[in-house]
């Protein structure tokens, strides 16, 4: 066959070979249809394990109880018992090694998330005990008078 026909043919074949070689090197072996169909399951299978390895930051009341049993028990009989420790004390990830102390959120804004009065009929928010933050001791931290662990008790 003539050269001007063969030369582009070799070029095309070389390009295809290069493409296949690059594809072999770059695309991981677990990439493909790994699910119910091509439309929804075309992915790298090991990514599922990557997501599962992500570390937890919020460890839950049970974790806090191991060392702070007294506080958890005190809180357990109060109206605030359904509130996780970490909602106010911050996520316990790494604690007590690093950070040694968790930063406590003592701001009024934290309490106002629930206890700023909103006149909403049909919503549970309207039934929660609430204040008008601009009239009820503005600027003063709530915890000076109210015990957040046991709101019915005096601050001791």
């Amino acid at each position: 066959m003539k050269n001007h026909v063969l030369r582009p043919l070799w070029l095309v074949l070389a390009a295809i070979a290069l493409l296949l070689a690059v594809r072999y090197l770059v695309v991981p072996s677990d990439f493909g249809v790994n699910g119910r169909s091509f439309t929804y399951g075309f992915h790298r299978l090991s990514n599922v394990a990557d997501w599962q390895k992500f570390p937890d930051k919020y460890l839950g009341k049970e974790y806090c109880q191991d060392c702070h049993e007294e506080k958890v028990t005190e809180n357990g009989s109060s109206k605030h018992r359904n509130i996780q420790c970490e909602n106010c004390h911050g996520p316990a990830y790494g604690h007590p090694d690093n950070p040694e102390k968790l930063p406590i959120d003592r701001s009024r804004e934290l309490c106002l998330r629930c206890h700023s009065q909103l006149p909403y009929p049909g919503s549970q928010r309207g039934q929660l005990k609430g204040i008008d933050p601009e009239r009820h001791n503005p600027g003063q931290p709530c915890a000076e008078c109210h015990n957040p662990h046991h709101p019915d008790q005096e601050v001791g």
């Binding site: 990439f31 790994n34 699910g35 119910r36 169909s37 439309t39 929804y40 399951g41 075309f42 992915h43 790298r44 990514n47 599922v48 990557d50 997501w51 599962q52 390895k53 992500f54 570390p55 937890d56 930051k57 919020y58 839950g60 605030h80 359904n82 509130i83 996780q84 970490e86 909602n87 911050g90 996520p91 804004e109 106002l112 998330r113 629930c114 700023s116 909103l118 006149p119 909403y120 009929p121 049909g122 919503s123 549970q124 928010r125 309207g126 929660l128 933050p133």
Partner: protein, 256 residues
């Protein structure tokens, strides 16, 4: 080929019988379908939001952002809480400042004072990824970076995502966004790292009012599955055909 009268009649009968069979008789079952048919219990994560219980404290949003390392002060979030205030003139006032991250502490909506006497109903609606059975965000991904796991959760492969943004446009619920640090598409994973270990999601754990719950649809004894099966639950934007798997109790028609 030898063709006696007997073999001809035999083949003719067989061909007629085959022709009368419906086309569905020849359908091949996929492995997933076979598993579903034989009743082997698997996992299909679903979510239940009780809008009657939500008070708009936003602790779920805060917990989600810290748990999943979503930049705290960036205006993006995997889950958010919307406030709906319907007034007697029929208008609905909707807001979600910073996704409700700091809760709803002011009665003003977008700086606008609303007379409490004019409020006919007001409520909060938490939103998150619906982990659709037919996720449009997965269909449009040109590189196979986003996918549905075998237990129904839609995830994004951060190494594979090219950041084209098709999925962000495709999601009818506006759940997806660009991660400002990783520069890839980001979305709620139902805290896949937690539920895979038998824990609950960060938002469910943080909610003091049990307005959020996660469950397994394939487990008939699961309390969430029981509610979804026996009570009146709604879903968002059913008309899109995405088959969302986040179910709502007490959903109002004003919710969009």
């Amino acid at each position: 080929m030898d063709c006696s009268r007997r073999t001809l009649l035999k083949s003719a009968c067989a061909a007629t019988a085959a022709a009368t069979l419906p086309i569905s008789a020849f359908r091949l079952f996929s492995p997933a379908e076979c598993r579903a048919e034989t009743g082997k219990p698997g996992t299909r994560w679903i979510f239940l939001v009780d809008t009657e219980k939500c008070v708009g404290c936003g602790l779920c949003v805060k917990a989600c952002k810290l748990e999943n390392e979503v930049p705290y002060d960036a205006p993006v979030t995997r889950t958010w809480v919307e406030r709906y205030v319907i007034t007697s003139d029929g208008k609905s006032h909707i807001d979600s400042p910073m996704g409700g991250r700091d809760g709803f502490t002011s009665p003003k909506i977008d700086g606008q004072e609303i007379n409490p006497k004019e409020i006919t109903k007001a409520f909060f609606v938490p939103k998150l990824c619906n982990q659709c059975d037919n996720p449009p965000c997965v269909q449009v991904c040109p590189v196979g970076a986003t996918y549905q796991t075998s237990d129904g959760v839609v995830l994004v492969d951060r190494k594979w995502c090219i950041g084209c943004g098709y999925c962000i446009m495709a999601c009818p619920y506006g759940v997806r966004f660009f991660h400002p640090e990783y520069k890839v598409a980001e979305k709620c994973t139902f805290c896949y790292h937690r539920i895979s270990k038998g824990e609950t999601t960060a938002c469910v754990q943080a909610c003091p009012f049990e307005a959020r719950k996660i469950g397994n649809l394939r487990d008939p004894d699961d309390p969430v599955t029981k509610i979804v099966m026996t009570q009146r639950v709604g879903v968002l934007k059913d008309e899109y055909g995405t088959k969302p798997q986040v179910f709502y109790l007490g959903l109002d028609r004003n919710v969009r």
